[in-house]
C-alpha cells in the first residue's frame, strides 16, 4: 500500500506536467482537443493524490513503523484519532495535504467550470498544474513521506504532545483550504494576463473562489488562535508570532481582494488592481508556506529543519511570484481601465478599505521579515513582537473599523455622505451609550476601553442598520418591510453578517484585553482565591494515567455564593515519557461569553503549587465573531448572481428558495 501511495504520487507529478503543458499550448494554438485535456487530467491528478494521501493515512492508522515518517511521528498507544491526524502533523505529511487540497481545487474548476470559456479554463488549469508540479517535485525530491526503514522498528517515537489534540484535526485542513484556495484566484489572474483579456464576468468567476478561500482561512485562523489559547496555557489568543502572521497576511490581502472584486464585478472598475491583489494574496500564501516550512523560523510548526527544503521553496516562491509579477508588468497595460466614480461612493469606500488593508498587510509583512533581513546583513538578532504591531497595526485598524458601517450604505458611483450619516444616527447613539455605560458603570475602565467597546457596538449596530435600511425599516408598512427583508439578496445578508462578526471579534478583544484580570500565586490544597468576583478552592493534585502519558490533575472547585461547589475545573501537568516532554493542560470554565482560565505551574518543595488564573471577559466572542464572519461568507456564496462558475450544490441550495429574488 505504501509503495502504491508513492507510485501514485509520482504519477500525479507526471500528470501535473501534462496538465501544465498540453492545455496551455492548446490555448495558444486554439486547438480544442488539446485544451480539453486539462479537465480529465486535473480530476485524475486529484484522484491519484487522494490515493497517495490515503496510503499514508492508512500507514498511520495501522502504525506501520516500517515507514520512517510514521515511526518518527506516531506511537501504537496513541488514540486512533491522533494516529490519523498525525498524518499531517509533520513536515512531509502536511506538504502532502497541501498538494491534495491544491489538486482538489483544480478538480473543482475542471468539474464545475464547464461554463467558462475554453481558453480561459485551459489556462487556469495549466497554471494550477504548474503550481502542483513544483510542489510534487518538492515532496518527491526533498520530503518523501513514504521512505522505508529496514529493519522496521517495533515502536514509534510518538507525535509531538502539543499536537495530540483535536485542534490538529481541524486547524491545518481549514487553514490549507484557505491558503491554497487562493491559488485559484492566482491561476485565474495569470490566465487573464496570458490571454490579455479581463472583463466583469472574470470577476464573477473569481469572487466565489475568493469567498470560499476566505471563509476557510477565517475559520483556520480562528481555530488556530483558539487552539493556541487553550493548549499553550499562556492565556493569550494572538502572539504576533511570525507563523501566525504568515497566515494573517493572506487573510488581510484576501479581505482586500474580496472587496475590490465587488467593485470590479458591479462597476467594471479597479480591474488591474483586483488582478494584482489576487496575485499578491496567493504570493503571501506561498511566502507563508516558505516561512513555516523552510525552518527559517523556530516554532511548533517548523517540524524539522533541512536547508535544502528552504532553498527549494524559495525557488518556487521566486518562480511564481517573480513570474506572475513580470507577466503583470508586461501585460497589465493591455487591460483597459474601466468605470469612473466619485471619491464619496461605494467604490470610493471600497478603495479606502483596500488602501487600509493593503497598508496593514505591508506593516505586518515588514514586521515579520525585518528580523530575518537584519540577521542576514548583520550579526544582530532582533525580535519584533506585539509592541511593534500594536503601534502600527492598531492605528491602521481603528479608523478602518470606524468607517466600515458607512460603506454598504453608500450608493454606487456617487454617494451622499450626509444622508448615510443620518441613517446611522441610531447606531451612533447606541455606540455612544455603550461608551458612557462602560465609562460610568464599570470599575477601572479606561478611556481607551470605553472607546473600544463603543467601536465594537458601532460595528454591530452599523451592520444591523444596513439590513434595516435596506428592508425599509421605518419608511414602509411592516408587511412591505418583511417582504423586502425576505427579498434582499443573500450577499446583503452576507456583508452584514461578516461586518457583525467583525464587531463581535472586536468586542471580544476589547473585553479580554481591557477588563481581564490575572493572578499568579502559590496555593496549598484547601486554600481559596478570589478573582473578579469568582471564588475558587484548590482541592489538590491527583495523579492519573492516560493512554500514552501520565498526569497530575489539579482540581479546583468554583464556589457559589453559599460556599457550595458549582463547578469543578481541572488543569493538568502531563508528561509524555516517549518524547520526555511535559505539557500543561489548561482548565477552562465558560460562563456566558466569558471564561475562567487557569493553568498549573511547578510544584514547590512544601507541597504548594504555582497557579496562574485569568478572568477573560467576553473572550469567546473573539472566535465566535470569526464563525459569524464565516457564516457571512457562506451566505454570500448562496447569492444567485454567483451561480456562474460556482459548484452546483450551491446552485441547488439557491434554487430551493427562488422567492428570494422575486420581488
Amino acid at each position: 500500500m505504501v509503495e502504491t501511495g508513492h507510485f501514485a504520487l509520482v504519477l500525479a507529478f507526471a500528470l501535473s506536467l501534462v496538465q501544465t503543458l498540453v492545455p496551455m499550448f492548446g490555448a495558444r494554438m486554439n486547438n480544442q482537443k488539446m485544451m480539453a485535456v486539462g479537465s480529465p487530467v486535473a480530476v485524475t491528478g486529484f484522484a491519484l493524490t487522494a490515493l497517495s494521501f490515503a496510503a499514508l493515512a492508512i500507514a498511520y492508522a495501522t502504525s506501520d513503523f516500517s515507514v520512517a515518517n510514521v515511526w518518527d511521528n506516531s506511537h501504537s498507544l496513541q488514540p486512533l484519532i491522533y494516529k490519523i491526524t498525525g498524518t499531517w502533523g509533520n513536515h512531509e505529511g502536511s506538504m502532502l495535504l497541501w498538494v491534495l487540497i491544491l489538486t482538489f481545487f483544480g478538480a473543482l474548476v475542471a468539474a464545475f467550470g464547464s461554463n467558462l470559456p475554453a481558453a480561459l479554463r485551459a489556462n487556469v488549469l495549466a497554471v494550477q498544474g504548474a503550481i502542483g508540479a513544483t510542489f510534487f517535485l518538492f515532496i518527491l525530491a526533498t520530503s518523501n513521506p513514504f521512505a522505508r526503514l529496514n529493519p522496521a522498528p517495533i515502536e514509534g517515537r510518538d507525535l509531538n504532545p502539543i499536537l495530540q489534540d483535536l485542534g490538529l484535526a481541524i486547524h491545518p485542513p481549514l487553514l490549507y483550504l484557505g491558503y491554497v484556495g487562493f491559488s485559484i484566484c492566482f491561476s485565474f489572474s495569470v490566465a487573464a494576463l496570458i490571454e490579455g483579456r479581463i472583463d466583469a464576468s472574470w470577476a464573477r468567476w473569481v469572487r466565489p473562489w475568493t469567498l470560499v478561500a476566505w471563509m476557510f482561512l477565517t475559520g483556520g485562523i480562528a481555530m488556530g488562535s483558539y487552539w493556541a489559547y487553550y493548549e499553550l496555557g499562556w492565556g493569550g489568543f494572538w502572539f504576533w508570532d511570525p507563523v501566525e502572521n504568515a497566515s494573517f497576511m493572506p487573510w488581510l490581502a484576501g479581505t482586500a481582494l474580496l472587496h475590490s472584486a465587488i467593485v470590479m464585478e458591479k462597476r467594471s472598475a479597479l480591474k488591474i488592481w483586483t488582478l494584482l491583489l489576487a496575485i499578491l494574496t496567493f504570493s503571501l500564501s506561498l511566502l507563508g508556506t516558505f516561512l513555516v516550512r523552510s525552518g527559517v523560523l523556530t516554532s511548533v510548526h517548523a517540524f524539522a529543519t533541512d536547508p535544502t527544503r528552504g532553498v527549494f521553496i524559495l525557488c518556487i516562491l521566486t518562480l511564481f511570484i517573480g513570474g506572475s509579477l513580470a507577466l503583470f508588468a508586461f501585460r497589465a497595460s493591455r487591460l483597459t481601465a474601466g468605470g469612473l466614480f466619485h471619491p464619496i461612493s461605494r467604490e470610493g469606500a471600497l478603495v479606502l478599505n483596500n488602501l487600509f488593508l493593503t497598508t496593514a498587510t505591508a506593516t505586518v509583512l515588514i514586521g515579520t521579515l525585518y528580523p530575518l533581513a537584519v540577521e542576514a546583513v548583520s550579526a544582530d538578532k532582533i525580535s519584533v513582537g506585539a509592541p511593534f504591531f500594536n503601534l502600527t497595526f492598531g492605528p491602521l485598524m481603528v479608523p478602518l473599523l470606524a468607517v466600515v458601517p458607512f460603506g454598504p450604505l453608500l450608493a454606487w458611483k456617487r454617494g451622499d455622505i450626509f444622508a448615510v450619516a443620518q441613517r446611522l444616527m441610531a447606531a451612533f447613539a447606541a455606540a455612544l451609550l455603550a461608551v458612557l455605560v462602560t465609562a460610568l458603570f464599570i470599575d477601572g475602565a479606561s478611556v481607551f476601553a470605553a472607546l473600544g467597546v463603543g467601536l465594537a457596538f458601532w460595528l454591530i449596530c452599523g451592520a444591523l442598520t444596513d439590513i434595516a435600511v435596506k428592508s425599509g425599516f421605518g419608511t414602509v408598512a411592516p408587511g412591505v418591510m418583511l417582504r423586502r427583508f425576505a427579498g434582499l439578496p443573500r450577499s446583503v445578508f452576507g456583508t452584514a453578517l461578516a461586518h457583525l462578526g467583525l464587531g463581535l471579534t472586536t468586542l471580544g478583544i476589547v473585553g479580554t484585553l481591557c477588563f481581564g484580570t490575572e493572578k499568579i500565586l502559590s496555593m496549598h490544597a484547601g486554600e481559596t482565591v478570589q478573582l473578579s468576583g469568582h471564588t475558587l478552592r484548590f482541592e489538590g493534585l491527583y495523579p492519573a494515567q492516560g493512554p500514552n502519558y501520565s498526569e497530575d490533575r489539579g482540581r479546583f472547585a468554583l464556589l457559589g455564593a453559599d460556599g457550595s461547589t458549582t463547578a469543578v475545573i481541572t488543569s493538568a501537568k502531563r508528561s509524555y515519557p516517549i518524547r520526555q516532554m511535559t505539557t500543561t493542560e489548561s482548565g477552562i470554565k465558560t460562563i456566558g461569553f466569558s471564561q475562567l482560565y487557569l493553568s498549573l505551574g511547578d510544584e514547590g518543595t512544601d507541597g504548594s503549587v504555582v497557579v496562574r488564573l485569568w478572568w477573560k471577559p467576553l473572550v469567546t466572542l473573539i472566535w465566535g465573531g470569526g464563525l459569524v464572519m464565516m457564516a457571512g461568507a457562506a451566505m454570500s456564496l448562496m447569492d444567485r448572481r454567483l451561480r456562474v462558475g460556482a459548484p452546483s450544490r450551491r446552485r441547488k441550495s439557491t434554487g430551493a428558495v427562488p422567492s428570494a429574488s422575486l420581488p
Binding site: G233, P371, D380, F388, L391, L396, I520, L600
Partner: protein, 147 residues
Amino acid sequence: MTRKQKRLSVIAGGLAFLGAATGLTFYALGQKASYFYMPADLTNASLQPGQRIRLGGLVEKGTIERGQGATVAFSVTDNQKQVKVTYIGILPDLFREEQGVITEGTFRPDGVFVADSVLAKHDENYMPKEVAESLKSKGVWQESKSD
C-alpha cells in the same frame, strides 16, 4: 474644484496616508524591536537604562531558586559569563537546567535582569535557534546528546 484638482487631492491624500504609515512603521521598528544578547555580549553593548532586550543562553546548573509565591531566580550563562535573572510567573514546560532559554525584560540598576517573559521554544535539539547559533559562533557549542 475642477475634476483634475479633485483627482490630485485624492492622490495626495492617499500618498500622505502611505507616508504616515511608512513613517510610523519605521519609528516603531526603531523603538519596539528588541535585540538579542548572550551574557558575554553585554559587556560591549551600550544599553539605555530600562531598554527592553532579549537575553538568551543556557540555564546554569544548580542556580534555580524558588522564592516567595511564584518568584523564580536563575542564572543564564553562555559558558563565559552569567547573568542573574528573576521572574514572577509560571516557567514554560520545556524550561530545564542546562538547556536553552530566552528571557525578555529589562535590567534592574543592581544588574539583575527582570524578565517578564521566559521562552523555552526549541527545535528537536532542545535549543532555541538564536541560542544555538550564538553558542556555535562563540565556539562553545557542544553537540547535544543524540536521543
